[in-house]
């Protein structure tokens, strides 16, 4: 449905699909991305239809290269879209600032998806601030329809202003669904040759042009249809919303029954703010509530506008009656609206989506930690690493990175992380810490990254570590996939977004070409790899260990599943000598506890048949059979 040329027809679409559709209606020539939730699917979908629709879609090694590729395409007057998550936008920060200074030719839109409450992130950073810092226009849709509509609008405006435009979306937009009325799919516009004296150069003498473009955007925003007002024209109580704040507010007003007393100004053009429009409503109001996701971005700038134009109005929002952090939900917005409108509220204040949240009442959802999938090689890797480090009298320090393995900070990975920051940070932080071993610090330092992260930002860190003679063990957890975000291709997988084959880049060869000493091992060879890590920890200098084992979810699709079962006669259960080692310590979701029989069991649905639990079972009670019924591996004895 994203490719159908049926103007006026309405389809139910996910927000991420609406972004794809919007890009098509905007006539893009080029799309690029590095995967990041909640917008990971967008480029995958674009990749599938790119060939058919005649544009180029590609996965980039990181967000900076993604945006720079778009800028290159834009130079030939191609329209492009770059999709990132909030962290990705921050990775692009330098490129955005310099790129904004130089301006663009063909329309260029960056879609940044924020993740309030950090459902699938390590943070809930608010992308919007970057627009101010880089002096670029910022839009945010309130509905799935607006999401679709905003992309072609932004591409058009971007071209008009010769400036890149940031569109901020949030998880509920990306993953939510709504009716979308399709627009027309345009004819592809030809490229423009780049003349001898054409320039796209980011240099400070363009600073004033940068600000002029922003003022032109403000002019357009004053009359933009993405800003709309609901309710009585001269309402004394005004609610200003950004993004999903509008829907929450309209629903809550209806629930409370005060929709006639208040006015709702929904803003879609967030920077530069349409000051005239805002002033018009502020002047009528006595009291303003700002409802927006995460930071009090609009709240503070509206307060500034009120101050600038000396409008006596009380402004509240995230600073006081809404929670300072976390995602909005119907309960917190309802509660805040009641307080704002002076309606009695006897319900206990629930935290954003947290405990006591009435939306979840009556649903017996068990509390679960994030964990690795059944058969995940990372579980074995961290199990091994913990054993190797415990062999050292003074435990080593593990500097982690971003990927599925970030969950190693929890039980899934034996609480295996001491440090975790942003993409690529593990190896460089380890390099710095490891240098202290030359000055009396005497703990072994280990850093970790995944294969996709390796290509994303670890390579410069590895070169830095090599150049500076680092004293660290760097482990690449190579599961041959960008697993966390849904198996997008990366330079090591040998395929591209559009499905073409490309030459695989070997992590081992790359590391060796830098002069690094490289070892490879299989995390499923528990004993051998534990010994190897023990030895490497004790070897001075920079060591790279690649732990190779494909992601279990990928492997399960191609490998015939071995049957794993528990010999209940041998199982020691929770007696002294085992204490539920498989289900309690190893912790694979496939290893469960049979409360009726009081012994270990395998969840056959979840189990992928990797058989590693048979190697660690202290009683040799876990049996593994090849698909044809032959016994595959004898259970180990400890």
């Amino acid at each position: 449905m994203t490719t159908k040329n049926e103007p006026g027809k309405t389809y139910l679409m996910q927000g991420n699909e609406a972004i794809v559709r919007g890009a098509l209606e905007g006539g893009i020539h080029f799309a690029s991305s590095y995967p990041g939730s909640p917008s990971s699917q967008v480029l995958g979908m674009l990749g599938h239809i790119a060939e058919k629709m005649g544009f180029r879609a590609e996965w980039s090694t990181n967000e900076t290269t993604a945006l720079q590729s778009c800028m290159g395409a834009s130079f030939a007057n191609a329209r492009s879209i770059c999709i990132v998550k909030q962290n990705g936008l921050l990775v692009q920060s330098d490129t955005i600032h310099c790129g904004a200074l130089g301006g663009i030719k063909g329309g260029l839109v960056i879609v940044s998806s924020d993740d309030p409450d950090s459902h699938s992130s390590t943070n809930e950073f608010d992308s919007r601030h970057l627009a101010i810092s880089a002096n670029i226009p910022l839009l945010e849709p309130a509905t799935v329809q607006e999401t679709k509509d905003m992309i072609p609008y932004a591409l058009e405006l971007s071209e008009e202003l010769e400036q890149m435009i940031l569109v901020r979306v949030t998880t509920r937009i990306c993953h939510g669904r709504g009716g979308v009325k399709l627009g027309e799919l345009p004819e592809k516009r030809p490229f423009t040759p780049i003349g001898e004296w054409d320039r796209m150069v980011g240099i400070n003498w363009l600073h004033s042009f940068l600000l002029e473009k922003l003022e032109r955007a403000r002019g357009a925003f004053e009359v933009s249809e993405f800003n709309h007002y609901n309710g009585q024209e001269d309402a004394k109580k005004l609610i200003i919303t950004g993004g999903t704040g509008m829907k929450y507010t309209l629903d809550a007003l209806e629930d409370i029954g005060i929709q006639d007393e208040v006015g709702v100004l929904s803003l879609g053009t967030l920077w530069p703010l349409p000051e005239k429009l805002i002033c018009e409503y502020l002047r009528k109001a006595e009291k303003v509530l700002v409802v927006e996701e995460v930071d009090p971005f609009l709240e503070e700038h509206i307060a500034a506008i009120a101050g600038k134009y000396q409008i006596p109005v009380e402004i509240c929002g995230r600073a006081d009656i809404l929670p300072k952090i976390g995602e909005l939900n119907p309960e917190v917005v309802t509660k805040a609206l009641k307080e704002f409108a002076g309606v009695a509220d006897d319900a206990k204040a629930p935290a954003c989506g947290g405990e006591g949240c009435p939306a979840a009442e009556g649903l017996a959802i068990p509390e679960r930690e994030l964990t690795f999938c059944a058969g995940c090689p990372h579980r074995a890797s961290f199990f091994i690493l913990k054993q190797a480090l415990r062999r050292e009298g003074n435990h080593g320090v593990v500097m982690g990175d971003i990927g599925c393995y970030t969950m190693a900070g929890q039980r899934a990975g034996q609480y295996g992380y001491h440090f975790m920051s942003c993409m690529g940070s593990g190896i460089s932080a380890a390099e710095g810490l490891g240098q202290l071993t030359n000055y009396g610090f005497d703990q072994p330092v280990v850093s970790l990254c995944g294969d996709s992260t390796f290509f994303h930002t670890v390579v410069p860190g590895l070169i830095n570590a090599k150049m500076n003679n680092a004293n660290i063990l760097h482990i690449v957890l190579d599961n041959s996939a960008t697993a966390m975000t849904g198996f997008q291709p990366h330079p090591g997988t040998g395929e591209t977004a559009m499905g073409y084959e490309t030459e695989k880049i070997s992590i081992q060869a790359l590391c060796e070409s830098l002069g690094c000493r490289v070892w490879t091992a299989d995390p499923f060879d528990v004993e051998e790899t534990t010994q190897l890590i023990t030895d490497l920890i004790r070897t001075k200098g920079l060591k790279v260990l690649i732990l190779l084992q494909p992601c279990a979810t990928l492997a399960a699709k191609t490998r015939e599943k071995k049957k794993v079962w528990v010999d209940t006669d041998k199982c020691r259960g929770d007696n002294c000598g085992c204490d539920r080692y498989c289900s309690r310590v190893w912790g694979c979701p496939g290893n469960v506890w049979d409360f009726e029989k009081d012994c270990a069991a395998i969840d056959e649905v979840v189990c992928v048949g990797c058989g590693v639990c048979a190697k660690i079972c202290p009683a040799g009670a876990i049996q593994v059979e090849e698909p044809d019924g032959a016994k595959a591996e004898k259970g180990g004895e400890a």
């Binding site: 913990k386 415990r390 007696n575 002294c576």
Partner: protein, 373 residues
Amino acid sequence: MLSILELERKVVKTDLCTNCGACQGMCPYWRSYEGRTFVDYECDRKEGRCKYFCPRMPADLDALMGKFFNAADVIPQLGPVKELYLTRAADPEIRANAQHGGTVTALVELALAEGFIDAAVLSKAGAAGEADGSGTLDPAGCLVTDPAEVRKCGGSSFQIPPTMAVLNEALKDDVYKNIGVVGTPCKTLAAYKMMAKPFEDNENNADNIGMVFGLFCGWGLDWKGMEAFGDGAHVDILPSKYHRMDLDDKQIDLDEVLPLVRKNCNYCYDMTAEFADLSVGGARSSEGWDVDKGWNQLIVRSEKGQKLVELAREKGVLEFRSFGDADAKAAAFDKLKKAAASKKAKAVEALLEQGSDLGYLEPSRKAFEEYIK
């Protein structure tokens, strides 16, 4: 408190742990690497065999001794003693590889051959990772069933491998019903703690322990640092006046060796392996070391031990040497008692320095009262 936490707090973190291995080989939680015992992952049981089997967890040692030995045989400094001999292996091949006279090797061979035991848990110098098992570095415990294999485990590495983990594994397997175990005093005490079956419904087949051979021990050495001396086949610590350790032909000043002494050895009260059927050490008779070189002194502590020694005499497996007259034997006894008492006094002093009471010896306080200054 969790069993592993209690053991960690009372024994491992206080440097009392001897790395004997008694807590290991039964479960996946306790492990040992290069002479250090540690927890791999946390077990959440409150009651575990580990803490009951540990020779450094508080226990009433007098009661334990009363359970297995004849009270009339007990000499305060030396434990139960039925007889004291000077012996050596008759086979010169055994002696060639022995620290002293090869008595233990000869006795274990005999015990296996004659069915006193059906398997033996021994320590093999350089066994871990070394195919030929020779050398002093990185010793490990091993299970031996062929008498011919016993002599490969002769000699001493002066390190304390977690041999009792091998015993625990063998007991768990329940294949051998009469296992002999050779060990330093910490290990033999653990063996008797196991045989006392403190953990009623989960005793790990402790009845399968058939005989216990104790080794006299002054102290053991740490793993780390040993490699500095290089590998060798034969180690001996000479009597104190020489102040030296011999490693094959190398003579090493004891000052270089002493920093490697395991801290836990300072807290050990037992020089002669009081819990054992037979205990064996280097001969240190009043006539002097040069005369005794190549001989063992052998304490017989139980009837079973006595039977094996008598058989060894009959079969000519052991050679016996007289102490001389009764006075000379009494002098040898006195020398041994004095040395053993000195070890007890040092242990008491070290324990009192560390804590407010005698720690693991507190339940047996009465027996150590005389050493409290």
